[in-house]
Every structure is written in structure tokens, then in C-alpha cells.
Symmetry: C2
Subunit: 357 residues, 2 copies
DNA sequence: AAACTTTGGGATAGCGCTATCCTATCGGCA
DNA sequence: TGCCGATAGGATAGCGCTATCCCAAAGTTT
């Protein structure tokens, strides 16, 4: 029977060895081909509405659930979205992650989180690993990445949205920037300037800027502070206190004490982050330095607890949850192959004046 | 040499259409079969050491990286580990996640996070979704799950480690508990009792217990508080203040104010969580209630900032990062098919006495 | 009416691996 | 010598799906 080989028996098994209900099971039960089931279930191409309904009915009757691995292998695309954030120890990024994750999950995507620790090469490494999984989309923090990372993102063809930051509008639009990146955030520089102007408006003149964890966004706030002071003609370079160490309440206390010792005439301090500012407020209480009468204190981000401080902390409320959600939405749009309304989404910020200024 | 028909031409392509370097490419370049490459690279079965070395050399020369999707499909097992935590808004769980994630990544596993919001049915739903991905392992918070969830975990055959909690040793070991679950944590009840005893030892008699977000672990701390007070003969049921709302600094302030109003004779308050306690300390400052002379305040977990409060907060330091790491390690052991040294790992806790008591 | 496009469905070849079965070789032992 | 188990490698059938090609039928155009 040599020629019998050409017609394989194709035994009809109701279930595979693995016990999983497969697409073919559904196809067979519905009396259509696997292709049709696949198309009906994914809404691909044109399928007769009645057929779609039948397939869906059979599918849910059998309890069919598509296998993500098989799908990823066949389509070269997973249902994962990778999100790269610098730290998990900063509530800012956790809020971002939480919001993005929630939005993506609702749309059927799995979120794979990567923590870069503000390390460009770690970011590159994480990106490499993630790209192996052929993610359907990419969410990355900030616009500053090393060239290799940028090249990886570009050449991977994976839709990508940047978080928290917007390209500087006054950028020297040189030809190196191939395309404007998709991003959702707000203008850090403007926020820094706005808070500084607020302090100026309340009569402060000698306003220090205290920062830790000098990431690009912190530096932009610094530039905003500078320009606002320059506008007002009271810029004083020696009032910049920059510390590369990670941000923390304790460090805020230490920096506050140092500043007050070195520059007792300072009448306001703009901390680049609420945790530093909260630490400063506690230190002020300990040291008996009265806030705001002797020195005003302001923070950034409006983290939890800032409204509970004594005095309550003046700060900039940043829409991080909304950023996470909007970025996820934009990514979903891109992953559908559509173009978002705006490639750059500015969600703004809000000055929250409380008792510390 | 059978009929020529039965031997398909098998065109030799150096690279597939996708451009990816595959295992077969490596096999061909190394002059061995795909099976051998697969085995050599995974350390499966016995392979000649010289061959392993050659395969590895070729593999890295070609820049081969295994495709996780193909691997998952063929082996019915992904390199994902799912971790279920209640919230991302509690630093406790974020620390857990961070540590676990770091450990798992170092071992080549991807962490898939799921946020249950303390909702049993959401947990069940998340678990369902995660199991579709055939995770290699499972990390879940707590030991309390609804029956369906527990059944899903059992029947999935996926190795699972529970976080933060240990089975009560005094449990009525009835036959319903098929097997002792793997878990890494500490004795919440004992920690609650220990902190209470610490307050008693410092001369307090009327010690209130204030809690929010009444999850099982919070309730265990309550039981610990109760038993310590009963031991001392000063248990007073009306000093339990339980609020199901989510925990926050603001709520801590509100609860503190209420307690001091309703029960002015209270001389210590044990808050189930540091954020509540921190809020209470701030409220005390606002209200001019002196801590600890009028009332001692203690928290739980030793979250960031607790040492910066005024007065610094007495609390229980819980080894959450170590729990995350140890749990991940235990899971890695289980995933290798080995048995962990101990199925239950008690990492203990530490009373941190500061100025608030 | 003939030559087309469109529409809705089926057949099937992979996607890149692992698991299973098979084969060849080599000692050890009766 | 011959048998047997152990060892180390090869061959190959899937895993469950999607993408691609193909085809019949119906609608459009000249």
C-alpha cells in the first residue's frame, strides 16, 4: 500500500492529548473550517454574521479559550505589552503602572513590567529581553534613551508610547529626529517654572531648588525654576542644591537642614519631589524652623500624605494616573494600526497651594 | 532508499522568512541535529561535553535566542510567573513585587503581575487568565482564597507559593486541608501580640486597636492584640476601632481624632498599618495632643517615612523584601521539581521602638 | 454575454520549539 | 561469543494557531 501514504487517515479526535479545547474542536462542532472559526472569533475579514454567531455560541459552549502561545507563535505577535519604569520605590511610577495595567488588561493585554533603576544599559537589556516576547506594544518612561535602545525600539516595529514627558517644543528640530515620538505627559519645565512663579508671587525672593535622583525630568524642573527666576531677575546659581542620591524623606530632611545652615537667608525651597519636601517639613518641625513664615516649602507630584503634613504641602499635582491610562489608550490605538488623534498628549498640571507656602 | 517521493526535498534555508535565527540554524551550523542543540542548550539528558561547548559557541556566534512562544507551545509551559497582590497602592506589596520580580528575572523568568483589589472574584478571574498562559509558577498573597480559586490552583498543577502569611499552627488540622501549602511570611498574630506586649511593658494599660482595610492579616494582628491584652487582664472590646475603608494617612488622622474624642482615657493606639499611624501622628501635631506623653502611637510594617515622623514612629518591621525574595527562591526550587527545605518559611519580625511610644 | 471584481468560505503550510521514539555504539557479564 | 542495558545522538510528530493561497458563487462592468 505505498500510495495509501498520500492520503493520511486524519483521525478525528474530539480533544487533543493535552485536554485543551482547541480551535479545531470548535470548528468541527460548528461544522466549519478552522480558518472560519479563527476569523469569526477575531472579527477578521468578512464573515457571515449568522456564522459568527453560531461559532461564538459553540465556542462558549465548549469553553474554548485561545492559547496565547500558539497565537503568538503563529502570528509573530503576543498579547503582551511591556512597560519600562525606572523604579518601583517611587509612588509616581507605581501609579503610572497601575493605571496603564488596568487599561491594558481591560483590552485583553498582559502587562510585563521592567524596572530600569534609571540605568540606561539595564533599560537596553530589559528591552532586548522584552522584544524577544514580541510584545504587541511598548510603554517607556521618558524620552531619553541611549542610541542602542532607541534603535531597538525603532527597528522592532513595535508601537511605542513614551510616558511623563513631551519633546521640548523649542527643540532645535534637526534632521536626526526621524519622527516625533508618541508621548503622553506634561511639560516638566513649565511646571517647574509655574511653581516657582507661584512662590515669587507670594513674595518670596530667595528661592532655592533642591533635588535628588537627578533624572531628566527633575532637570527640566530645574530649568523651569531657573528661567522663572531669571525672568524675575532674582536668579542665583548658588541656590541650586543637587544631589544624585535616590530621593527619600530622610534625604529631604538632611538637605533641608544643610540648606538652612548654609543659606539662612533662603525664604523658600522648591523640592523636586514631594518625598523630599515631606522630609523637609518634618525636619523643620524637629528643628523648630517655622514654615512658611521663615521659609516656604513646596514639592512636586502631590504624593499621598502631602495634604496631611503640618503645614500641608504646597505642590504641583501631576496627572500620573491619567497619563498611564491615556498612554495605554494611545498604545491600544496604535496597536490597532490606527493613528492617535494627537501624537503628543499634554495632560497639564495643577499648582496646589497649601499652607507650606 | 525507498521511493523518491517519500523523501521531501527539505530545502536548506539559512534563515526563515521571519529573519529569526532558529534552533535549526544553529543545528545546521554546528552539524548536529536540532534535538541535540535543544538538549545541549537546556542541559537536558546526557550530551557530550565537547558537543555542548561547540553548540554553545555556534549558538552565540549566530546570536541565537530561543523563542519563548514556540517553547511554551511545545512544552506546554511558559517562562512566566504570575504574582497576585491585592494592591499597588500599598508600599508593602510593591516591595514584595519588586523583590520577587528581581529574583525571578535573574533566573530567567518573566513576572506577570495581577492586582486583585482584595476582591476574591477578581482574584479568581485573574488566576483564570494567568493559567491560560501556562505559567511556570504562581505567587499569591495570603492563604485565604475562595474555594474555586483554591481548586484552580490545585488542579492546574502549577507550583505555588503563598506570601506574607503562615498557616496557623493551632489550626484544627482537619482533613479538608489536603496538603500544607508552601508559604513564606511571618506570624501576623504573634507580631500583633508582641507589639501590644511592648506597649504594655512600657506601662500602657488602655491600648486601642485601630484598623482599616480589614484583610485577613490585619485581623490576625487584631487577634494578637486581643490575646496580649487578655493575658494582661486588660482586654476591653470597645477599644477596637475597625474601618473597612482603604488605609491612608488621611484616614489615620480621622480615626485618631475620633478615638481621642470618644475615648479620651486611651493611653496608646496600635494602628494596624504605618500609614494610618503616620496620619495619626500628623493629626496629633495639628490637635496639639502630645505623643507619647498623652497617648502612645504604634504602627505596623515600618514603611518609609515612619522614622522621619515627629515623634518617630514605633512599629513592627516586617521583612517584606526578604519575603518576596525567599518566596521567589522557593518557587524556583519547586519549578525545578525539587522540594524546598521547609514548606513554610517564617522570616519573623522585629519591634522597632522609636519615640512615639 | 463575456470578462472582470468582490465576497465568503476551505485547505494547508508553517511559526520554532520540545517530547517521544528510534538507532547505533560501547561495555559488562554470563 | 552473544546478550543486554546504558549512553548519546538523530528523526519526526506534534503543540494550537494564523497567514496564505485557493476556489466557488455572486455581483459589476463593458
Amino acid at each position: 500500500m505505498p500510495n495509501a501514504v498520500s492520503s493520511p487517515p486524519k483521525t478525528v479526535k474530539s480533544h487533543r492529548a493535552t485536554g485543551r479545547v482547541t480551535l479545531s474542536d470548535v470548528a468541527q462542532a460548528a461544522g466549519v473550517s478552522p480558518s472560519t472559526v479563527s476569523r469569526a472569533l477575531r472579527g477578521e475579514r468578512a464573515v457571515d454574521p449568522a456564522l459568527i454567531e453560531r461559532v461564538q455560541a459553540v465556542s462558549s459552549r465548549l469553553g474554548y479559550v485561545p492559547d496565547p502561545a500558539a497565537r503568538a507563535l503563529a502570528s509573530q505577535r503576543s498579547n503582551h505589552v511591556a512597560i519600562l519604569i525606572p523604579l518601583l520605590s517611587n509612588a509616581l511610577f507605581v501609579d503610572l503602572l497601575d493605571a496603564a495595567q488596568k487599561t491594558l488588561r481591560a483590552a485583553g493585554f498582559q502587562t510585563l513590567m521592567g524596572v530600569t533603576h534609571y540605568d540606561a544599559s539595564e533599560e537596553e537589556q530589559l528591552l532586548r529581553e522584552q522584544l524577544l516576547h514580541r510584545p504587541a506594544g511598548l510603554l517607556v518612561t521618558g524620552l531619553d534613551h541611549n542610541p542602542v535602545t532607541r534603535k531597538l525600539m525603532d527597528s522592532s516595529q513595535v508601537p511605542c508610547v513614551h510616558l511623563m514627558d513631551l519633546p521640548t517644543s523649542n527643540s532645535n528640530s534637526n534632521s536626526t529626529n526621524d519622527a516625533a515620538p508618541y508621548c503622553v505627559g506634561f511639560r516638566q519645565t513649565e511646571a517647574g517654572a509655574a511653581l516657582t512663579r507661584h512662590l515669587l508671587a507670594s513674595g518670596r525672593q530667595r528661592i532655592a531648588f533642591a533635588a535628588a535622583q537627578l533624572d531628566p525630568r527633575v532637570m527640566q524642573r530645574l530649568y523651569g525654576w531657573r528661567s522663572a527666576l531669571q525672568e524675575a531677575g532674582v536668579y542665583e546659581p548658588t541656590l541650586e542644591f543637587l544631589n544624585p542620591a535616590p530621593s527619600s524623606l530622610a534625604l529631604g530632611g538632611v538637605m533641608f537642614e544643610q540648606i538652612m545652615q548654609q543659606r539662612p537667608a533662603v525664604d523658600a525651597i522648591f523640592f523636586c519631589n514631594d518625598d523630599l519636601a515631606q522630609g523637609a517639613l518634618m525636619a523643620a518641625l524637629r528643628l523648630g524652623i517655622s514654615v512658611p513664615s521663615q521659609v516656604a516649602i513646596a514639592g512636586f507630584n502631590d504624593l499621598t500624605g502631602s495634604d496631611q503634613m503640618l503645614p500641608a504641602l504646597t505642590t504641583v499635582r501631576t496627572p500620573r494616573a491619567r497619563i498611564g491610562e491615556a498612554a495605554a489608550q494611545m498604545l491600544l490605538t496604535l496597536m490597532r494600526g490606527e493613528a492617535p488623534e494627537l501624537p503628543q498628549l499634554d495632560l497639564g498640571f495643577e499648582i496646589i497651594q497649601r499652607q507650606s507656602s
